[in-house]
Amino acid sequence: MASKRLGKQTVKLQNPPSITSTASIVGPKEGKGPLRLFFDNIIEDEMWGEKSWEKAESKLIRETFSKILQKAGKTSQEINYVISGDLLNQCIAANFGLRESDVPFFGVYGACSTIAESMSIGAMLVDGGFADDVVCITSSHFCSAEKQFRYPLELGTQRPPAAQWTVTGSGGVLLSGKGPGPYITHITTGKIVDMGIKDANNMGAAMAPAAVDTIVTHFKDTGFTPESYDLILTGDLGAIGKEICIELVKEQGFNIANIYNDCGVMIFDREKQDTHAGGSGCGCAATVFAGFVYKKLMDGTLKNVLFIATGALLSPVSTQQGESIPSIAHAISITTSLNQ
């Protein structure tokens, strides 16, 4: 077996890359949510001076990319790769947002799990000695996502209680071979899991089994336990998916209830902001990680974090054809200190 592999789905990085810089830009609604103080920039309106929502989303990625570099004191010439993706068809937010970046580019799609997917690949590139500095970045935009996946914004419809609210925002990280941490030490790559949920308004329930699978596999592969972490954080399961996740992980012998949370639950005040089950979208996990989690790692409040971004791999076509929702979850183990 390859020397860095651990168990069925996990790799242990021998030269753990540091997360040396992050940036997050969010929309006005997210900017009124409970995590507003952790974001770098809150845009005033969803168009952000552009002519379409898609252009605004590209601008989110572009500006987040510049912000990451600016905070790290680097130029784009020093970046070996940028790995990026988003929710729009053919990933146009990332492709157009980064077309002037002049950096070698990998486009990826993992729906809302994209930030963890790109960080997994980025960390392996750095660990393998193929790159010194890699930027991983994703975005989502409420309006462009609604337009593509649901109904026009101005259509007067009611959402069911299980529905989630796509986060407008972009978050990204810079992974470097040399740095003071926090370090990415383990990566557990998820499998596609489909338990037959067909309701596109209940994506938390569709994605929860994927998250459970990845979390349990991570524990089994690495020998870690819930006690190894002070935060286990999923991407966008929302309130319903969160409950399901806790219960199903417990059924398999791991109690994570005390240290577990979900970005989709954290980013909005569900009652006051009328977001039903919570936030979703690539930008949800990305901005909560780049904003909240990274700052908590840097100030020492958090030391060991298991970050699991979750994605529902559906499309409007598959939904219309009556298909169920395949889902995925990618886990990244992050620590502030390598001497443990």
Binding site: K51, T157, G196, E243
Partner: protein, 148 residues
């Protein structure tokens, strides 16, 4: 996943975990707002009748005015909030039909007037038109045959 339940068991478990819509509240709101929209229509109708218009003219003019109001409120970003509050109460009346045409027209303006507005305008109302008109033709044929 290391399966502790089958897909069927999971689906019924999810059903149990997922809260239902607040039907009682939604029905009440739909009744109030839907009723209010109808009252507005009736008010216009009564005014027109007082002005001496015949029944057929009144029906057409009231429809036109209500469609205009639905479209206007959509354009002013009000109808979606109304819909979120009232649900079926603002979907069922003719104002809701106007909303279902104007909202995609606004949404897809960024793709141009031909492939955007023109092509996508009926993306929601289209099925209603297709099956509404088809049903009326079938009903017409049945009526025609029964009258023979």
């Amino acid at each position: 996943m290391q399966k502790t339940m089958t897909n069927k068991e999971y689906q019924s478990y999810v059903e149990k975990m997922t809260p239902n819509s607040k039907t009682g509240r939604n029905v009440l709101r739909a009744f109030l707002v839907g009723g209010l929209i109808c009252v507005v229509g009736q008010f216009i109708s009564n005014v027109l009748k007082m002005k001496g218009y015949g029944q057929e003219q009144v029906s057409s003019i009231v429809s036109l005015i209500m469609i205009f109001l639905g479209a206007l409120l959509t354009g002013l970003n009000i109808y979606d909030d109304l819909g979120r509050y009232a649900g079926a109460g603002s979907i069922v009346p003719i104002t809701g039909f106007a909303n279902s045409i104007v909202s995609p027209a606004m949404e897809f303006k960024s793709e141009g007037y031909v492939m955007g507005v023109g092509a996508r305008m009926f993306v929601i109302a289209g099925p209603v038109l297709v099956y509404g008109i088809s049903t009326s033709i079938v009903a017409g044929i049945i009526y025609f045959l029964l009258k023979q």
